[in-house]
Structures are given as structure tokens and as C-alpha cells.
Amino acid sequence: MLDLYSEGNSRLHTMKPGWKILGLAISGSLLFAVDNILFSIAFLAVTLALFAAAGLPLRRAWAQIRPVIWIFVLIMIAQALFNSWWVGLFVIIRFAVLLMLAGLLTLTTRSSEMIDGIEAGLRPLSRLGLRTRGISLAISLTLRFIPVLASVVREVREAQYARGLERNILALTIPAIVRTLKMSEDISDAIDARGF
């Protein structure tokens, strides 16, 4: 499965996803509960050490915050104008730690393991009348059809390229959606035909 998992066999890789999620939740709460910049800086150091412990180079930690750099700049400007640059720095460090920790969870946990975890977590709810079988099926179907529909969008794009419409959003999405909806009938027949 195409995911953001990074191969490895550290303690973090082998730990059950549930513990990692719990750890992330506790870390996030602590970061906001303890309103102290030194605490946040210490937490940053621990986080970077965790990346090293998982065998991940520091540029993977940097990659977690790179997409929001412009937000950091925005925060810094706003805080420098309305409060002080000190508060800005504090907010940015706390924010960066949170993003890195979340990224660490994603990098060390396979999507399939997380999905198994979700399904195991939902199972007790089936006694309350929730159709967990349906939820499992929906998850699998989505994973199956993401690449199929991405190919459909790509095919439509190539077809429209021939007509010079490859940058026209309507010309791309309308045929893709029509095909998606037409597929739905056969797919649900196929599922029923196999005794679902």
C-alpha cells in the first residue's frame, strides 16, 4: 500500500499503534498545559532524539514542518506586532514539536496496522448495532479505488489534452465523475454477487 511509512525495526516501529497514539495525545496536552518556553525547547530536543532513535535522519523531522513555514512567518510577524517576538518563537516551537511528533507516528506506523487498529476498536460497537462489516468494506473499497480513479482522472486528462482542454477543470471532472457514478452500480452488484 502506498503510504508514508518508512521501513525500520526500532522500538518505535514495533510498538503497537495504540500506544503511539496515546503518547501523541499526552504529549500534545502537556505542550499546551505547561505554558513555559524552556519546557517546549526540552520537548523539541526529546522529539529530535526520538527521530534519531527510530533511525530517521533529521531532514525527515524538518520535512514535517516545511509545508507550514509560511504560517510560521505569519505567526512571527503577527506576534512581533501584537505581542512580542518571544511569544512568536514559543508558539512556533510548540507547533513544530507537535507536527514532528505526529509525523513520527506516521513514519513509523504502517497504514494497514492503523486500519487494523481502527477495525479492532470498532468491533465492540457492533453489539450496539453499528455495521462494522460495512465500515471495513468501505475502507477497503476506498483503498482499492483511489488508484483506479486516479487513473481515470489521468486518462480523461490525456483525452482532453488532445482537445487542448487539459487545464479546464470542468472538462476533467465531469467525465471522471460520470464514470465514477456509472461504475458504482456494477461494483455494488459484484459485492452482492459474492455473498456480502
Binding site: M1, L137, S140, L141, L143, R144, P147, V148, S151, M183, D186, I187, D189, A190, I191, D192, A193, R194, G195, F196
Partner: protein
Amino acid sequence: MIEIQNVSLTLDDRPVLRNISLSLSEQRIAIVGSNGSGKSSFARLLNGLRTPTEGSVRVDGLDTRKQARDIRRKVGFVFQNPDNQIVFPIVEEDVAFGLKNLGIPPDTRTEMARDILQRYGLSAHSKHPAHNLSGGQKQLLAIAGVLVMKPDYVVLDEPTTLLDLRNKLRISNAIDALEQAAIVVTHDLDLVKDFDRVLVFENGRVLADDVPNAALNRYVEAMLDA
């Protein structure tokens, strides 16, 4: 044996099948006909995916209208486009899906899936995404996913229409090798020349019902007349 008695089917106020009565017991039966002749809808009646507007369809005495669940276990269905039939992302997961629905325990499921993938030459791909298979491999996977459930009959709806020549031959061989009775809807006249019986559908009716040569001649004549 599948018995079709006085069956008519209307979809969105449009008559699709008109008063058809047939009794199907041969090992290899083909259904040919032009687009819109009603042959695909007819195929869907055979395993209860559609129920007739009038008349009845019985599989080994079970009525598709009343015992749809049992009938779907008896009659496997392979669709034209395997992309619409493969519903799980990983090859072996997809094969296991039908078995899971039958309530077969996980260990047995894995074993049965392994056996059938071996039979269709897909063992090397069992842990791969289904999306990366070739068109012919996808169709073989779709067939494997149905056959692993051990149905008594298999209905195949245009299984070779989207395939190139080499893959057509692979599917054709796979159909020949089936132990089950097979009912194949197709445009591919080569595929059916050794079948026991060929039904020609036209405009919601059975135009011809004969051995392959005679039936196919009637079909070609009818196409040329129109």
C-alpha cells in the same frame, strides 16, 4: 438445472426481456446478441442480482426471488470489467472476501486463496496491489475470486470483451477448464464454437436456441438483415 418460466423484465418502464421460457442444464451455454438485446440483464437474473418483473427463475428448485442469498452461493458471477469487480486493494485479500462472506475461518481462507491463486498463475502477485496487474491477470483474479467460493454454476458476462488476443486465449482456456456448468455472455464467437448450446438474444427475445454452428449462422443472418 436453471429453469426460466415466462420471464419478463422491465427496467425504468422499458421492456428488456419479453416472456422467456428456458431450461438450462448443459455444461457450456453461450448467450450472444447485439448490444441492448437484453443478454446482460438475462445473465443477472440467473443469480438473483435482478429479479424478474413477471415469471420466475429457479436454480435447482430455489426461487431467485425468495432465496437470493442461497442462490448467490450456488451461482457465481464474473463481470465484464474486472476493475469493477475486484473490491479489495491486495490480490489475496480480494480472493478471501467471498470466503469471509461464507463464514469460513481465517486460516482455511488463506489456504484456499493460496490454492486458487496458484491455479491461475497469480501466486507471485498474492501480496501485490490488484491495481498493478495486467488486464488479463485482473480478469483471472476476478474469476478466481468467484471460483474460490465453489459455486455450482458460473455466469460470465462478456469476460473477454476488454482483453487483447493473448489474454482472450488465457480466459478461454480458464473457461474450458471449469468443472462447473458455465453460462457465458459474449460477443466473441470463437470462444463459444465448442459449446453445447448457444442462445441468440434479440430485442428481449430468444431468436435462436441451437448447437453453435446453426445458432451462430442465424445470428449473423439477423445482423446482416438489420
